[in-house]
Symmetry: D2
Subunit: 256 residues, 4 copies
């Protein structure tokens, strides 16, 4: 078992991150620029920086209702530390809670090649494959919106910044193709889906998809956990009337 | 059990964060500004923004050796998801691993009042208290440095931005007082300690201390976990020669 | 960093646990006997075995309402693995959720010495100390019962098995003393409290208190997580009407 | 979001587990019997009880080297609670660390039907499927043993107790078939594999496979975490000489 890393370490007396002395980065980079550097290995361009800032802001917080926040507050409520409760929030961010980013980013990055000249045809082929395997394409659909306003905003920002936009085009072509076969039901590219397209535009490997979502959402989790600590009494139980036992009726041990 | 939050929610059709519509924030704020808003409830000033960016960059990543990175890589290595491994990193960030921020910030914020006119006298009184209770003041000392270069850099940035600096002054007065009684052993304000002083300068409640460290360090943890996934083979065991059994010698069950 | 352990390892070709070859233990010990061996370092006597079996059964499961079960189900519901969800259950078992065992066991084991000849006098002194420090003695009180039936049952079993009972006597003396000063409010030794007394009777160090509770409760957590996986749909959100935003009213960015 | 469970709850004044009043179970069941009841919904027969006790003992502890123990000790070492550290152990028990139990149990339970009359033919068909899909059958192989002594012991116990043995027969037929095509390399049914077969013999659904492994291994994790707390100094870092930075050489920011 050898431990090696290309992310950070010591070169002589300097602590370096991806080669840059850390003391040089402090005060020179924004946090989002440093995140880009840590994940991708190089500094972002000015427009990559702006797009990443916008994407992380879009993810940061969405209220008390999602399972990650409930789990984090429950852990705190049992009498545990801030970092344990935040960890429970991260633990909850699985396949159905931000996981679509990684899955769709993989699909986009592995489907689109330099040779692709028509994203509509590619989108049709992708949908066909998914339908034959009876799978759903991740990153589409929203329970409230016909179009997700956060997704629209991020796409607009990416266009305004002059991104090439082939991954976004493919993601939108998939949306159109899905809706063409959905009997009028809207299946909009949602905030997970657009994040998948945007990290692909920035050249970030799909393997970082879940990680990027965790980075973006953790500040919200922290705020909720601190609020729970400062405003609520410990030991939240489910209230009477919200739960019930529907198992075997009463019975007794025999011959014991 | 009622669930209420002042952090984010719906007002009519808008998702708001601390009152601001989320779609307005996307593209307008940097990620660090949004972090400030989520944690403190209001937007930072320009100099608060710059100081927070610098602080988060200082925390972001410090190589493969700390226990949080080893734990995170071990969890991935057992065949687990990215978010589980990142959660293990957060779990490790306890009292001895970033925890000094919260403890020292509490001390600084509860000791320094508008009436305090001499931080040296206050520092002396604090040290006396700690010595009488046989406790160590958290946030001081470094195994390599006489002065921690990251701490020096952050203090310089805070001064240049025109921060009042009373919390920094108190933190440095404690350093001088500690060193006055340490027989020449350096006990520099370290990166945890300076973070405690800086978040106090920005008016962030000490309860957010651990959370701020987690927010800052999670990108580094993500990068390590993704690197482990992409470069290493699964199931890291301790290598032969690094571990040993020092328990009871061999013995056998009787009468079983 | 050297890794040494007295719990288990290799002696020649044998895997041993506390000195005993593992293959000898399989089929010879009950699971509870093996737990005792792993934690304490020696095999239990017959009556210690019986008392430990009874204690672990008393802990195993208490329905869907406690925060540990809600957190575990929430983690699963986000689209995560069985072991991640079980880990969230363990994460929740903190100071207010089983934590009283360790705290009370420490108190009992550090207070009671071979020289103690009167547990009533000792109980009075303990209560006095706690009252002076404005602390609550952990392990007492129940929202439903005047006497906790599980505690009564475990005490009866310990008496019937012929345990000396000095730790139980002290725990009950503390109960009487607490109730003498509670204006008629019942403050019964609860299941956490009795577990603290019982592990002390068995000579298990108080440091194992939280661990014993986790060992006992994990099977219940596993059953809930598997039930969630097999019976429920993913992504549990708090239902409308159970949560609300009580933060700042709507406001807008200026000059951005 | 409604919370319902068939595992445990209140019927009138009684807390019941799978219908049985909890106070009746305390002192009547062994811990392993209660585990069986909680997971499967009914009490085990005498021979099921004995086989489950043996299986859980076989799993309980295997030394300090596996990643689950290293992760758990690292979390404690960062200055965290016993339950957080134990949770990190559970987090590590993923696809490559006990996960084979669930995968193989699924395969066995879904392949073997009442109509199966020849397990050798079934084994051949299974292997063929796996080879065509370029997958490995989980639960086979050991780095030290030609035959895993723990697996042999458990099979012997199951045979002696008079279990029908069709799942064991199928698991062994797969072993023979794998070895027939491995050029003399031993691919013995290992302790994970035999556990899969045994829980199938006991009629426990494969979904409980990972959970059963966690239940069995948690006592070992607890013992290690308590030992770390009582014997070791905090903050384990990787020692110098075991890790290295192999990333970009030193470079500097331009124009910042």
């Amino acid at each position: 078992m050898e431990w090696k890393t290309s992310i950070a370490g010591q070169i002589g007396a300097e602590t370096v991150i991806r080669g840059y002395p850390l003391t040089e980065l402090i005060g020179s980079l924004s946090f989002a620029e440093a995140i880009f550097l840590v994940l991708k290995g190089d500094l972002p361009t000015e427009r990559e920086k702006k797009l990443l800032e916008a994407t992380l802001v879009a993810i940061i917080e969405h209220g008390i209702a999602p399972p990650s926040i409930v789990a984090a507050r429950m852990v705190l409520s049992g009498g545990n530390s801030i970092n344990s409760a935040v960890a429970a929030g991260a633990l909850t961010l699985g396949d159905f809670h931000g996981g679509a980013i990684e899955t769709l980013a993989k699909l986009l990055q592995e489907s689109l090649t330099p040779e692709t000249d028509n994203v509509r045809i590619l989108a049709k082929r992708i949908i066909l494959d998914y339908r034959q395997n009876k799978q759903r394409v991740p990153g589409y659909g929203h329970k409230l919106y016909k179009r997700d306003p956060r997704a629209l905003k991020l796409i607009q920002i990416a266009r305004d910044l002059g991104f090439n936009g082939r991954y976004i085009d493919l993601a939108l072509a998939i949306q159109d193709e899905l809706e063409a076969g959905s009997d009028g039901k809207p299946l909009p590219l949602n905030v997970d889906g657009v994040t998948a397209a945007i990290l692909s535009e920035m050249g970030i490997h799909w393997r970082n998809g879940s990680g990027l979502f965790i980075i973006g959402r953790i500040p919200g989790v922290v705020a909720h956990v601190v609020e729970e600590k400062m405003r609520e009494r410990p030991f939240r139980r489910l209230p009477e009337g919200t739960h019930r036992y529907d198992g075997k009726p009463i019975r007794h041990l025999k011959g014991k």
